[in-house]
Subunit: 369 residues, 2 copies
Amino acid sequence: MAVYIKAVLELTLRNGRFSATFARTTCIRKESTKASKLVYSEYGEASKVVRQESESLRIQKDHEITVRMLAAPVNPSDINTIQGVYPIKPKLPSVPGNEGVGEVISVGNNVKNFTPGDRVIPRYNAWGTWRTHAVCEATEMMKVSQNIGIIEAATLSVNPCTAYRMLQDFVQLSSGDTIMQNGANSAAGQYVIQLCRVWGINSVNVVRNRDNIEELKCYLADLGATHVLIEEELRTTELFKAQGVQKPKLLLNCVGGKNAQDCLRHLFKGGVMVTYGGMSRQPVTIPTSAFIFKDINAHGFWITQWNKDHDRSPEQEEMLQDITCMYEADLLKPPIHKLVPFNNYQEALENTINPKGFSGVKYILDFQC
Amino acid sequence: MAVYIKAVLELTLRNGRFSATFARTTCIRKESTKASKLVYSEYGEASKVVRQESESLRIQKDHEITVRMLAAPVNPSDINTIQGVYPIKPKLPSVPGNEGVGEVISVGNNVKNFTPGDRVIPRYNAWGTWRTHAVCEATEMMKVSQNIGIIEAATLSVNPCTAYRMLQDFVQLSSGDTIMQNGANSAAGQYVIQLCRVWGINSVNVVRNRDNIEELKCYLADLGATHVLIEEELRTTELFKAQGVQKPKLLLNCVGGKNAQDCLRHLFKGGVMVTYGGMSRQPVTIPTSAFIFKDINAHGFWITQWNKDHDRSPEQEEMLQDITCMYEADLLKPPIHKLVPFNNYQEALENTINPKGFSGVKYILDFQC
């Protein structure tokens, strides 16, 4: 707990030096009277195959609860699922959306662990969060703290958990150690930076060059990035030689291709690369000598599989509590995002497929507008 | 022990069915009176920079022993070391040769653990085995059983140990499990096949097509290979579908490039690839989806590093005893080899760099001719 308090102070000081802009918008809350959902009946381009439908909610049974959705993000994996190119293939027709937060508005007679007003998130992947209301088994949901924001709760189960597990499960990291990541401005990348700051780990963050690169560098430094390099700087950096920064023991890769190879060169002997994305659409190429003489170890990570393997485990419980505490202590911020009224879902779909401007903005469907 | 006895019987039966030819030659033993060594003073092509020199042995000290070399293989890594392209860079001038067996002919007054007549192998890499005699610290050598042949002893510390560790240290394999390897006719690959047979593990062995492919397939089947496929067969094989063979949990890769990628496709979910060579001179390319959705894990293995990290450890002791026992029980054969009189060392160097005919023949310097 001492570490957390120290970091709060640091965060405040940093906020004085850097100006991070959040695209959080407010909207006037209206009580929804009609239920509606997004649905798709065939795989394809999300903006074409997804349609909105009104629906009548079925009668809630004794072991069920009724949930009114508050917010649900549009993640790239949601789009890939709708396209039919993701390993998760829901039975069609299907309501898309893996993540989101809702409020319990009614509980069945046999339900003991929820009360109306509780905030809940789905326990399982492909639950279908892009709908205003749901009647579901109580066991399908888990409660989240009311002390964290709607955005924080809606995006709790994928990106911060991905960052948390990748930093915890592959290498024993101690305060003062260094990690490297590419695609550092990705949603998960932004959590990696913040968790590293909380845990006293140096993060070397690699991003692609872009028009507003200085703005992005400032934003990531404000989140807690120790170093931010564009790909070209990485190739000639003296960070690990002249500047004496400890070589990274862990490399988190969501890009692949040449970028991942360039990062890999700096990895500490015996280091670990964890691949959790492939934004370049190029595979991961590792020189034979890196395996044999540098003893590099390469793994993959997929939070969907981890959650499946660790459903209701102490590790899952501890992680969610830990992340919630960090949110409550103002040590974590959700990634840059834009709230979009549910009825304007097309804007969210299109911008997630073809991001415009400051890439890495997460679009979040807002059911309260 | 029961397993070993069973496997002896199997080996005998198999020998009746397949005819494996060994290029083991005999030669008339002459007592060497003069000491000589191979040496190189600059890195370069082995056949050009390595020369033979006579030498006078220095006076043996109280804690030293004098060894007369019996046999020493020429491994590809010896050639790479002489070329200066290996991570091990001995101080020049240097006597090449990492492996070999000698006979103790004299022991210093303070040496308790050796007696004349003992067979010994060097404990450390780059000891310099390509010499007729050596006076060295007793601690540099370790005793090997007199019950195994000279060839077996001379090649004990690299290839069988590489195969042994790769099968033991990365995946928990049980009898009935399947592994896959490429470059299956390599020296280490031949030990992998034999150890799998002893331990009841199915081996799927991939080799390049060649003129004498049927002869090679028979040879590997005779060693114990469960399946042998050429690269083209691997791409269309029904082994893991129609034929219902369990997918491999472990892939041993000494080739890289496209071959390794083709092998990787068949790996069991959560499987492990261990790279210990790169004969195609192409890096290892792994699709992002294999990491994320198939949870593939990729590691490297280098016996030199393992021996350094486990010098005099119980694991090392147990491994050498185990391999020795298998040799004594006739469960292991050394790879196809050719003995070359020490003075004809050029033949061994040239054929190791540019193998002719049945590739995978190991050239062994014979100091007894």
